[in-house]
């Protein structure tokens, strides 16, 4: 199966077409096609993951080679571009996560999106998204990754704007699309540079991921080129994975249906940036000199994102926006982890985060579906739902604890590993940033759980538990949120055996041998002290949150009493004024000059070209008319007529109309003929 892994994205792609054409006529309006296709992909992804793991039973010293298959995509001027699949631990893990969450979201959506007016279209878009995301995952070259990357962006746009009749939704979709497109400019530059990087290293250009990473790590390419390429790709990551300062689209993207938020804007698409970072880690490693410690831009971006995302999560009333800012913050952890050299930890956090964040989003969806009458406002329409929705409550709390990083749930293991690497890889600053982030995460999740499930019910609906199509996926995800972390626990260490940074050069070696590939790379070891500290900090966060909300202790109403606190709160409510900066200052400041410049270009260049073309055509037409048409063609015809007329004029005298003249000519001719004949007779 692992050799035929290209089938895995193909199946949902076919399902997309089938749903579009036949979905409306099916019994369940196309949902059954989508579920069957994604289910089939899920089974295949499990088999692929199993086959990958099985390869490690007899692993040679040189490591397990990634399974690659490529064929000619197109050729142009002697340059052959190949396309194919590269299946290794990273790809297999991503396929497993994407197909599992997609399958659960499909099932969940049959209940959540019940009676939606574009139900079939919704499932078609989900299928297309799954196919695109899987394409991005299996791709063996950066160009194919770019295709998958743009396709998932398109699907995200389609699904955020699913209810486009309301203007905020379509605005949110546009904002998401444009903001990620801004980052995609960097991706385009980066992908183009990967080609030249390989060309500089080997003499033959290629987009192949392994070749690109080898070129970047090989040291033959100038550091400037690698740095520019890494910066371009980092901008792409910033756009796609909601990093500061382009994170502003992600909270607005919550305008889409909640299952979409869970699938696309929590578990899979937004981590595409992190996946890209992991896949092309060689470029970042040597571009940003990650092995040297200190501060680099990638880690800094991640660190800033952790804090700003987590702080903003405190001032949200909308439960989905809390989770969105939490996602931003967690993505910050992943990017920071890549930045500090914690490759395995970043991917491991991606893996565990996908489960508990999807769980939290689906839980929020369940609350709005059955508890708060389709509202997401925690302060207005929720509260006290613990009694009405016990299953949603239990699973949500499991997700929240996993997110907060409490032992022994999934989030603990992955977050701890990031912190340990930052500590051991001489990135002390980011250790503290990570710890502050952990504290904030625990506190805002306490606030969120309190406002949603405790206190008195403030809504106006009739809260009840959601149907099994919603609760079963919640329980499955809760299971993973609890156990997924064990994979990389000390003395288990399976995850880092199957998936580690050596995969960027096409073979997965034993974790101890990685420093042969990455200079100065150290695989972190579990540190009990750090783990204890991080858990304690998270517990303190929960405790302070609990005291503040449950115990009603602490400075309540501070924002009304203290001027400074009020200013701070307003600053946060306005999301650091970043949206104002983008919409009013940057876009507003740029669009005037751009409009003027466009007007000038339009008037002078484009119109000039058009007018010039028009004038040229007119000149040519006049020339044709004067010379060709009038002189040559008309001249020939007129002269023919004139000649005929002249000849006619010469002969018109014969036609006198006088009968007797005719007769004279007749007889004269007869007489002449007789004379000639007689003469001939006589002579002969």
């Amino acid at each position: 199966m692992i050799d035929y892994a290209w089938v895995i994205p193909l199946v949902p792609a076919i399902s997309f077409v089938l749903i579009l054409f036949f979905g409306k006529r099916m019994k369940y309006k196309g949902a059954e096609i989508g579920i069957a296709a994604v289910g089939a992909s899920f089974v295949m992804a499990c088999i692929v993951a199993g086959q990958w793991i099985a390869k490690f039973h007899h692993a040679p010293e040189t490591g397990v080679k990634a399974v690659t298959h490529a064929g000619l995509w197109w050729q142009n001027g002697g340059q052959k571009i190949t396309a194919g699949i590269q299946i290794d631990g990273l790809a297999a893990m991503m396929m497993f996560v994407v197909t599992l969450i997609s399958l659960l979201v499909h099932i969940y959506s049959t209940a959540y999106m019940h009676d939606d007016r574009r139900y079939t279209y919704y499932f078609a878009a989900l299928s297309l998204f799954t196919a695109s995301m899987l394409l991005l995952v299996v791709a063996d070259n950066t160009l194919l990754m770019l295709c998958g990357w743009e396709l998932v962006g398109l699907c995200s746009f389609m699904l955020i704007g699913h209810w486009w009749e309301e203007e905020p939704n379509s605005n949110a979709a546009l904002k998401a699309f444009f903001t990620t497109r801004t980052g995609d400019v960097g991706l385009l530059i980066g992908v183009v540079l990967t080609w030249f990087m390989v060309k500089a290293a080997t003499g033959r250009g290629s987009f192949n991921i392994v070749a690109v990473n080898k070129a970047a790590l090989g040291g033959k390419v100038s550091h400037t080129l690698v740095l520019v390429c890494a910066s371009g790709l980092l901008i792409a990551i910033i756009g796609k994975s909601g990093q500061f300062p382009l994170h502003t689209w992600l909270p607005d993207a919550m305008a889409g249906p909640t299952p979409v938020s869970a699938l696309i804007h929590a578990a899979t698409m937004v981590v595409a940036g992190v996946y890209l970072g992991a896949r092309l880690y060689g470029i970042f490693w040597s571009g940003f000199s990650i092995g040297h410690g200190g501060v680099n831009v990638m880690a800094a971006i991640g660190g800033i994102t952790i804090i700003i995302g987590a702080v903003l999560a405190f001032v949200q009333r909308d439960i989905k926006k809390v989770l969105a800012y939490s996602t931003i913050s967690q993505l910050g952890y992943m990017v920071m982890a890549l930045g500090v050299g914690a490759w395995t930890a970043a991917i491991f956090h991606l893996f565990t985060h996908a489960f508990f964040k999807a769980l939290l989003f689906l839980g929020a969806g369940s609350v709005s579906h059955s508890g708060s009458h389709h509202s997401f406002d925690m302060k207005e329409d929720m509260g006290g739902l613990r009694k009405y929705m016990p299953q949603t409550f239990t699973t949500f709390v499991i997700g929240a604890i996993a997110l907060a990083g409490i032992f022994p749930l999934a989030g603990f293991w992955s977050k701890d590993e990031i912190l340990v690497t930052a500590n051991q890889g001489s990135y002390d600053v980011f250790l503290y940033v990570g710890l502050v982030g952990a504290f904030l995460t625990a506190a805002y999740m306490t606030r969120c759980v309190y406002l949603t499930f405790f206190g008195e019910y403030r809504g106006h609906g009739h809260p009840h538990e959601s149907p099994p199509a919603i609760t079963v996926p919640l329980w499955i995800l809760a299971f993973f949120a609890v156990v997924a972390g064990i994979l990389n626990a000390p003395h288990v260490d399976l995850f880092k055996k199957w998936i580690n940074p050596s995969s960027v050069v096409g073979r997965t070696v034993d974790p101890e041998l990685i420093h042969h590939i990455f200079a100065r790379f150290t695989e972190p070891t579990f540190d009990t002290t750090a783990a204890t500290i991080s858990v304690l900090i998270a517990l303190v966060g929960i405790a302070i949150g609990a005291l503040y909300y449950f115990g009603d202790k602490g400075p309540h109403g501070l924002t009304q009493r203290s001027g400074a606190a009020k200013v701070g709160y307003t600053f946060l409510e306005n999301k650091y004024y970043l949206d104002h900066l983008y919409t009013d200052v940057i876009v507003g400041g740029v669009k005037g000059p751009i409009a003027n410049a466009s007007y000038w270009v339009n008037q002078h260049v484009i119109d000039g070209v058009v007018n010039g073309a028009g004038k040229g055509t007119s000149l040519l037409a006049n020339f044709t008319y004067d010379v060709l048409d009038r002189k040559v063609v008309d001249g020939a015809i007129n002269e023919t007529a004139n000649a005929t007329g002249w000849v006619g004029g010469r002969f018109r005298g014969l036609q006198s109309g006088k009968v007797q003249q005719y007769a004279l000519v007749l007889f004269g001719a007869v007489g002449l003929a007789s004379f000639v004949l007689a003469l001939v007779y006589v002579v002969s």
């Binding site: 109309g657 006088k658 009968v659 007797q660 007769a663 004279l664």
Partner: protein, 99 residues
């Protein structure tokens, strides 16, 4: 059998006819001259028929007489119509077909 006298007579009649056709102005007289020419031809046909003791010439002569009757009928009708339109039958006035 004396052939020459008939030929001379017919030649004389034919020339009279030609002169009439070319010189006369009156349409009726022109028609009569045409009759003279036809009859000159008839004389020739009959004379040769007798000279060669063959009947074909006479058959032709009879045909010519028949056609001439029809021709003069039509010719007189045309002249009559011309006269009605222009109050004379002078051929010099009939030059509407002038080029």
């Amino acid at each position: 059998m004396m052939l020459n006298q008939f030929l001379i007579l017919s030649a004389f009649l034919f020339c009279t006819g030609i002169y009439g056709v070319l010189a006369r102005r009156n349409g009726v007289l022109v028609l009569m001259s045409v009759e003279l020419m036809l009859n000159a031809v008839n004389i020739n046909l009959v004379a040769f028929s007798a000279f060669r003791a063959s009947v074909e010439g006479q058959v032709f002569a009879l045909f010519v007489i028949t056609i001439a009757a029809a021709e003069v009928g039509i010719g007189l009708a045309i002249v009559l119509l011309i006269y009605r339109n222009s109050r004379n039958s002078d051929l010099d006035n009939i030059d509407q077909l002038k080029g």
